[in-house]
Symmetry: C2
Subunit: 291 residues, 2 copies
């Protein structure tokens, strides 16, 4: 058996799977109810032992909010998990489960999940973009997750698309999150990103206009990703999928507007298929790659 | 033996090497003197047979100006080689040399050359940026050249860094070449890129100012590359190396100005070491990877 853990700011999910990736049992809990890293780790390892019926677990994958240091299995200082600073998550789990544990950035593993069991099936090179409060990406290149020299590849949210644009919380002007991130979306309408996407889906005129403007900026980011990575497919996940009907035509139009990206190499654009299960599926696939 | 061919708009270079990559003999000719694709191919294959003393050649790599279609060994329609449209360069050579021939984009192979025998030795993940009249890049990820799903990865010159910027010849507004490419540099000062870099190196005040402004824009492109690829090292090659003393401090300053890219993952920046031999060395290494 293998296992995957998806540690988010809101929920922790555990999945136990067979070595072919088929998930046989899952459990979840609220992250804030568990509170400390130690208690999260103890709860997750208990669940893995329980769900695997005490049978041997050979490998565990964990997805966690960035920045992460995958080589050392470290959560560096995730802005959405207060008090989790330099937590050696992989090592803490290894003590309790007695098998290798591999940590990765959550967007990377959601991308890996979509690649193996979602919108990316049958594809070799794809970019998964998650667009909710934050914007991130996972790069699957020639069939493998690429996470960069320090685990920081795919930070699409902080790509600069207009150096004279608004100041983002990261300290840069005009990066993608400064135009499309939750804070930017909420600035005018006072609603969190997910709600704004819902309102746009319901046809609220102001929300639709705001989301479309953000989608234009996201479209430029997709042009840049296409020029740097040259993927066959771009999969969009996260809260944006709630107003996909409003967003997809804008993204497609902007991507097609680039005369430099000819039709023969223009990536397809698809909505993610696994919803909030993507991270847990990806964590299982990550464990599987290390078997 | 193996061989590498570097086909440029100005020169064609042929190198014959041992299977460990050591180059034993080279030849070169002017591309416009040979004129047609057929004559270039005949000349190159003659040189390979001559330089290898008739001994068997097991594999050939060719670098050529993009856009290329590596999977089909095709030069698509390089803007700098007039009349070369959809030339099946690999197939034409295979007929004459009777061994496998592998085509790649020239910037990719220059990057591969720097990676194996130049500024990138000892590195696993690097981006090679060539900045002359055009701007392109080669991505070496986890020790391997990554050229994208259609051979178009690393088109850094057409990354949009300011959607309201000047119109580039590619039809996009505010891409890197619109700020840093040869035409943009020449617009005010009336000199080709290489001359402008030389003048800047000589201290010509206007040239220095123009090159520094372009370097600021290039710095933003390097921030974006760092956020998407997360390399250990960025190597800069091409004409820009002529005024490296003026350009390097600007690139370094802009890269350090990004508060999102912390010191622990900030890539090093190095000048290319192989000069105009990078493409031929890379073509040999590309042949070697396919042995």
């Amino acid at each position: 058996m293998i296992a995957g853990i998806d540690l988010g700011a809101t929920q922790v999910r555990v999945a136990v799977a067979r070595s072919d990736g088929r998930i046989v049992a899952t459990a979840r809990n609220r992250t804030d109810a568990l509170r400390t890293p130690r208690r999260v780790v103890v709860w997750a390892s208990d669940q893995i032992l329980r769900l695997s019926d005490g049978g041997p677990v050979d490998c565990v994958g964990i997805g966690a909010p960035g920045p992460t240091d995958p080589a050392r299995g470290l959560l560096v200082n995730p802005p959405n998990l207060r008090g989790w600073k330099n937590v050696p998550l992989a090592a803490l789990l290894e003590e309790l489960i007695d098998c290798p544990v591999h940590l990765e950035n959550d967007a990377n593993l959601a991308g890996l999940g979509e690649f193996h069991q979602g919108a990316g099936r049958g594809i070799r090179t794809m970019v998964y973009v998650t667009w909710s409060t934050g914007v991130g990406a996972g790069l699957i290149l020639d069939g493998k997750l690429f996470s960069g020299a320090h685990g920081a590849a795919g930070e699409v949210g902080h790509m600069i698309i207009d150096p004279s644009g608004p100041l983002d919380a990261c300290g840069q002007h005009g990066c993608v999150e400064a135009f499309c991130g939750g804070k930017a979306l909420a600035r005018e309408l006072g609603a969190p990103a997910e709600q704004l996407f819902d309102r746009a889906a319901d046809g609220d005129t102001r929300a639709v206009a705001r989301v479309r403007d953000a989608a234009t900026h996201m479209g430029w980011a997709l042009i840049n990703l296409s020029n740097i990575i040259d993927p066959e497919l771009i999969v969009m996940g996260g809260g944006v999928t709630r107003s996909w009907r409003q967003v997809a035509p804008v993204l497609t139009r902007v991507l097609r507007s680039s005369p430099f990206i000819k039709a023969r190499r223009r990536p397809s654009l698809r909505r993610a298929r696994l919803g909030d299960r993507a991270g847990q599926v990806g964590a299982v696939e990550w464990a599987r790659e290390h078997l």
